[in-house]
Symmetry: C2
Amino acid sequence: MITRNLAHTDIFSEQAADMIHNTAMEVLEKNGIQILSKDARDVFAKNGAKVEGEQVYLSEELVMEQVKKAPDSFDIYARNPENNVTVGGNKAVLASGYGSPFVLDYEKNERRKSTYEDYVKFTKLIGYFDNMDVVGGVTVEPSDIEENYRHVKMMEAAIKYTDRCLMGSALGTKKAKESIELAAIAMGGMDFVKEHPVMITLINTNSPLKIDDRMSDALLVHAEYGQPMVIASLSMTGTTAPTTIAGALAQQNAEILAGITLAQLVNPGTPVVYGCASSVVDLKTGDLAIGSSKTANMFNGTAQMGRYYNLPSRGGGALTDALVPDAQSGYQSMMNFMNAVRSGFNFILHSAGLLENYMTMSFEKYIIDEEICSMVKNYFEGLEVNEEQLAKDVILDVGSGGNYIAEEHTYNHMRDLKEPIVSSREGYRSDKEQPDTATRANEMYKQILEEYEAPELDDKIVAEMEKYIDDIES
Amino acid sequence: MITRNLAHTDIFSEQAADMIHNTAMEVLEKNGIQILSKDARDVFAKNGAKVEGEQVYLSEELVMEQVKKAPDSFDIYARNPENNVTVGGNKAVLASGYGSPFVLDYEKNERRKSTYEDYVKFTKLIGYFDNMDVVGGVTVEPSDIEENYRHVKMMEAAIKYTDRCLMGSALGTKKAKESIELAAIAMGGMDFVKEHPVMITLINTNSPLKIDDRMSDALLVHAEYGQPMVIASLSMTGTTAPTTIAGALAQQNAEILAGITLAQLVNPGTPVVYGCASSVVDLKTGDLAIGSSKTANMFNGTAQMGRYYNLPSRGGGALTDALVPDAQSGYQSMMNFMNAVRSGFNFILHSAGLLENYMTMSFEKYIIDEEICSMVKNYFEGLEVNEEQLAKDVILDVGSGGNYIAEEHTYNHMRDLKEPIVSSREGYRSDKEQPDTATRANEMYKQILEEYEAPELDDKIVAEMEKYIDDIES
C-alpha cells in the first residue's frame, strides 16, 4: 500500500468535470445502457428505470441518488490481518498485472502461452515482495486448466502461497459465488465474509454503453454479499469510444455510473471503485498506445472524476507497449505508475509484470516493476523537515570546505536511503562484465523462487479447499 | 520549451520552507561563506558585509534585499528569434546532458574519452529535435582540444550547427569574457548583448559553503554584462552536505543565496536561476544515487525553495545511475525528468543523453531521452474539454454496441495522438526479429547524423568566429 503524502493533481477545471458529468447524464437518459442480464434489468425496472428490450434508460436523479450511497473509503480483510488494506483517501492499493494470455521467455526472446505453473511462480514473487496488496486474480491465464475450475484454482494458489487480500471472479453467477465460498474457507467462514469485504472483483463494461451478462450477473452476486468491486469501463478510443479523450471520459463515466447504480440498487453501501481500464489507440496502425502520455492523461481525468463523485478510483499501472524489458518498458511504466499514484488512484491494477500492453507477463519485468513501485512509494513518502533533519549544528560544525563523512549525524542517517531492488549504482569498470537490468532481474527472480517460503496455512483449510475444488472439477 | 498546464506540486509546508530559510540565514551569518576570489570579496565588503580572510559573513537583511532584486522571469535571445525562450512561470527550458568526460560506445559496450567529434555529433542531434532550447555548454568534454580555447570551440559549434540559445563559460574572468565576445559576433554585436541575455551560464558552488575563484570571477563578468546565470549548489549528501535531505537543502540554500547576492550587488536585476546540482550519495558503497527517489525529493524541495524567493529554478534532468540504455536508465530518467517538470523547474539541464550519473553521454540514450522529453511535454499539455472534444452527439449516434471507427469525428481527430520518436507500439510477431529500444536508437541517431542540415549562417559570421578563435589559440 502506498501512502501518498504529496498532493494529488487535477487535470481539468471543476467546470470541465461538470461538462463530463452532464454529457454522461444526457447519454444515460437518451441512449441508456444495454444490459444483457435479465436479472440486472429487472433490478433497474423494479427501481423505476425505463427498460425497453435490453436497453435501460437512467435519469440523473436515480443515478446520483444511488452513487451517493457508495462509501468514499472501505477496508479489505486478508487472512493475515497485518495485510488488511484501506481503499480510499490518500492510500493506493496495488495489484500485479492481470489477464495476460502470454508469458515472455526472456532467454529465448519469445512469448508462449501462460500456464498454471507460471501463475504459481508469479504468486510467489508477489508474496516475496511487500508491494502488492491484492493477489489471486488472473495474474496470468493458466491456459492448461479447464475453464470451469480455473477461477478457484487461481484463488487457491493465492491463498496457499500468500496471506494477502484476494480477488474474486467476475465470470457469471456460479463462478462469482464459488470464489466467495472458497474465500470463506480461508477467512473463517461465510458469516465473516458477509460482514467483511475479503476480496475485490473487476467488473468491466462492454463499451460502448453495454454491460454483458457474465459481468452484470457477477456484479449482482458480489453486491449481494457486500464484496467490493471495481466498476470499470474497458473502451478503446476511436473504436469503442470517441477518439478524443474528453469524449472517452464522458462515455466511460456513463458506463461506470450505470454499473455503480446497479450495485447500490442491489445492496446500498456496496463498496465500489470508479475505474478505468480503457486504452488509447493509435488509429494510424490500429495498435494500442498504452505507453503514450495521452493514456496517462486519460487516467488523470478518471481519478479526478472519481473524486468528483467522492468515490475511490482505479486506473494506471506499470503499463507499456514494449515487447521486452528494455528502456521503453522502463520509461513508459514509470510514467504510468507514477502518474497513477499522483493522480490519486486508490486501486492500481497492473502494477507489476506486464509487457506488450496487456498481452504478456514477464518475470524480469515483474522484478523491475517491484523496483518502480518501491521507488514511487518512497518518493510519495515525501521529506521530513525538522531540527534533526535540518542539522544546523552539524552544518556550523563542519563549516566551509569541511567534510561530513566522519560526523555522527552522518553515521546515524546513512541507512535512511532505501536499498534498490534491481537497480545498480555501481560505476563503469573496464575489467568486469556488468549485466544490464533485465539480465539482473532474470537472475534475481529465479533465486527468489528457489528461496521462497509461503506463509503458514492450516492443513485443514488446505484440505477443505481441495475438496471444494474437486467437487467443482468433477 | 515545455509549457506546464498542470499545477506544480510542493513537497513540504510553508512552515518547513521557513525553517530551511532560517537555517540558511543563521549559517550565512555565523559561518558565512568562503569566497576564493578577492574581487568578489571586495564587492561584498564594499556593500557592508563582514569579511575576515576568505570568509564572508552575510546578514539576512543584506541577502534578502539583494535576492528581491532578481527577476522572477526573463528571456534569453537566440540568433533565430523563433528560438527565444522564457525562463520562469510555467515554462521549462531544456538543455542536454552536460560535462561528461566519457561517451558510451554502445556496439562495443565500453566507454571511452569524449572528443570534439562527439561534441559536434551531439550538437547536431540537439539541432535535429525540437526539445532542447539551450545549446553550447559542455555537452561532452572535448578532451582532444586544448583547454585554453575549448570553451570557444564548443560555442562556435553550437552556433554553426544550431540556431538556439547559448551557454557561456564559467571558467574564470578571461574565458567568461571570451564566451560573451564570441556570442556577440553571432548575435549582431556587443551592443545587442549588453541589452539582451543571449546565453545562460552555470555557476556552481564548491560545497560546503565555498565558492571557488574561477566560478566567482566568471560570475562577476556575466553579472556585469547582465547575462543570466544558474547559481547552483553542487553538493553530495554525507560528504559535502548533511546526509539528511532537509539539511542538504538548508546548506544549499545558503550557498545559492550567497551567489545570487553577489550577482545582484554587481548588477542589480541580473537574471539568476535558483539551482540544484546536488546528489544523494549511497554511503554504504560511496556511489552516487542520482536515480533514487530521494534525489527526486531533493529536487522537489529545491523548486519549492525557488518559488519561496520568487525566483526561477533549476534541477533534475533525465538522470540515471545506469551504465547502459536499459530498463533502469528508462525508469530512473522518466522519474527524474517528469518530477523536474512537475516540481516546477524553469530550467532543466541534463535533459538528454546521460548515463552513469554524470559520467557518460550516450547517443542511444540521447534519442531515448528526446522521447522522454516529448512524452512529458505532451503530458503537461493536459486535456482539452469542450463540445468538440466531448463528442456528445457522436456518442449518441454510435449508441450501445456500436463502433466509432467510421465516424467523421474519429477521422478528424485520429491524428491528434503524438507520433513516438523511438518507442514502438507494434505487437509481438513470431516471424520477425524485433529490435529493442537501444538498438532502434542506435540506428536512428546514425541516420539523423547523415541527414542533418544545419540552419543557415552568414559566411561573414563564420569567418569572424574563426578569426576570433585563432587569436585565442595562438
